[in-house]
Homo-oligomer: 305 residues x 2
Amino acid sequence: MGSFHVGGRHVQLSGRSSFERVLSEGGEPVKINLNGTYVVEQMYVQYFHPEQRNGKGPLVLWHGGGMTGVVWESTPDGRDGWLNFFIRQGWDVYVCDAVERGRSGFAPYPDIWPEKPITQTVDDVYSRFRIGNHASSYNADRSLRTSYENSRFPLEAFDQLSKQMVPRWAHTNEAMIKAFQALLERLGPASILCHSQSGPLALRLAGKHSALVKALVAVEPAGIPCFQSQGYRTPTLMVMGDNMESDERWAILKKKIGEFANSHDGVDVFSLPEVGIFGNSHLLMVDNNNIDIALRIDAWLRAHV
Amino acid sequence: MGSFHVGGRHVQLSGRSSFERVLSEGGEPVKINLNGTYVVEQMYVQYFHPEQRNGKGPLVLWHGGGMTGVVWESTPDGRDGWLNFFIRQGWDVYVCDAVERGRSGFAPYPDIWPEKPITQTVDDVYSRFRIGNHASSYNADRSLRTSYENSRFPLEAFDQLSKQMVPRWAHTNEAMIKAFQALLERLGPASILCHSQSGPLALRLAGKHSALVKALVAVEPAGIPCFQSQGYRTPTLMVMGDNMESDERWAILKKKIGEFANSHDGVDVFSLPEVGIFGNSHLLMVDNNNIDIALRIDAWLRAHV
């Protein structure tokens, strides 16, 4: 196992005055000169190569908005996440923190990125991820929270999940896709398992650089990108949880996902409630049946890679 | 292996107007309501338990300023870092991203933290870490950079190292130490291996909660904290690289470290040039003799835990 960063670009700042600051307790003052070179928009990647490889090549894990690669690690209630699962299944797994998230770092605001980051409230996370069943489901008092009755999310561990959330920007999609592409170019053809925000970015990459993507599993992609998709030929699986219809935004997305699948050969849809699996939130990889779902994804991947 | 977050506190924001934003390519507009609850100042921890444990208990790795736990992973030139080394030596290793760094997330500025983050320039990193031999050693053109003649830093991979750097704040020491303490309380007595900025925080913790710290290895601590240290009795090793005298700030720190060791029983100093090991930068764990140094630290730890 190991890690590295890919992509990134150099930016120069000049004309700022320097100042002194003690940065460490009991330390000496440090002269801070903000003028000079910065590296921004690089992406952090941690990889694990199992002893018993399945020969199917690399599997990259791309998380959703406001999150980092942590979502693939232990579930909030301490069970094995999909990272451990896919390593055990013999994949060479690469977990990414998307550009500006987690260990990828972010560019100084407002010097380089003019936009402010957006940080989701805990309240918002609770309903946006279809754990709570309406916008005001969250309550600081755990006993007063409401959720979908059939919820498979580990409700008692929601507070732990909320600690995973990090600020995110709204203007960084192009930088993200550039870094994702840099990773695929470094690895060679790979399978992608992506979630939510990274779904449309992965679809666009697969559409444009089909040679780099062996297969794509998009777990609840948060959008279907506008792209020239006539030639789209990447084996693709769209995975969807439960209770999408009761959420205005997800109801529309579910329809769009269905339309995309219907108009492209080789795009399969795996909607869990339609095969009798109920109660999954937007965070399928964290729900109490996460390993069952992972087994089905693994089987699909092995059949298509 | 797995991961979790410790610590953190809830903060409420109110009175802000909401707005709509499309956050995912091809997605539906999302209503952003900044009012509500935030979790801030939590700390991310990733752990690895080897099959063959050495029975010495947990070893926590705390990185320095402007960095994340990545510094313990692969070196910038792709060799094994100290994380892999200490796992192989049978330690239960816990790698942390300090509060506000990497996967720990950060609090929205200026809503919760009034201060702006500070991002070090690449130029500054190059000299501050005693790779370059003076403040203007860095040059975008690799062939024009100057470094200490005996440098053991993998100079050809400096650009990769610079991608590891992340913004940091100057007012978060108390929040960091609180989260470090929460981790030790969760794990029980542990050994600490810390670097630079986390050095003084670990020293203060060991001074105040000696029962929680079995042994402490401080690699180039960036300060000696002011604390009631008469009763300090944690077995402690201070490790220092080369060329400290030629850097005004490090020359002072080296003196302070020596004074602390002289006035406390059980504090050992391991200054590499004094045993004939020359050329180590501030990033000993990354230098080309990193495994040799780790072996010596491992031997010291085994003798003192």
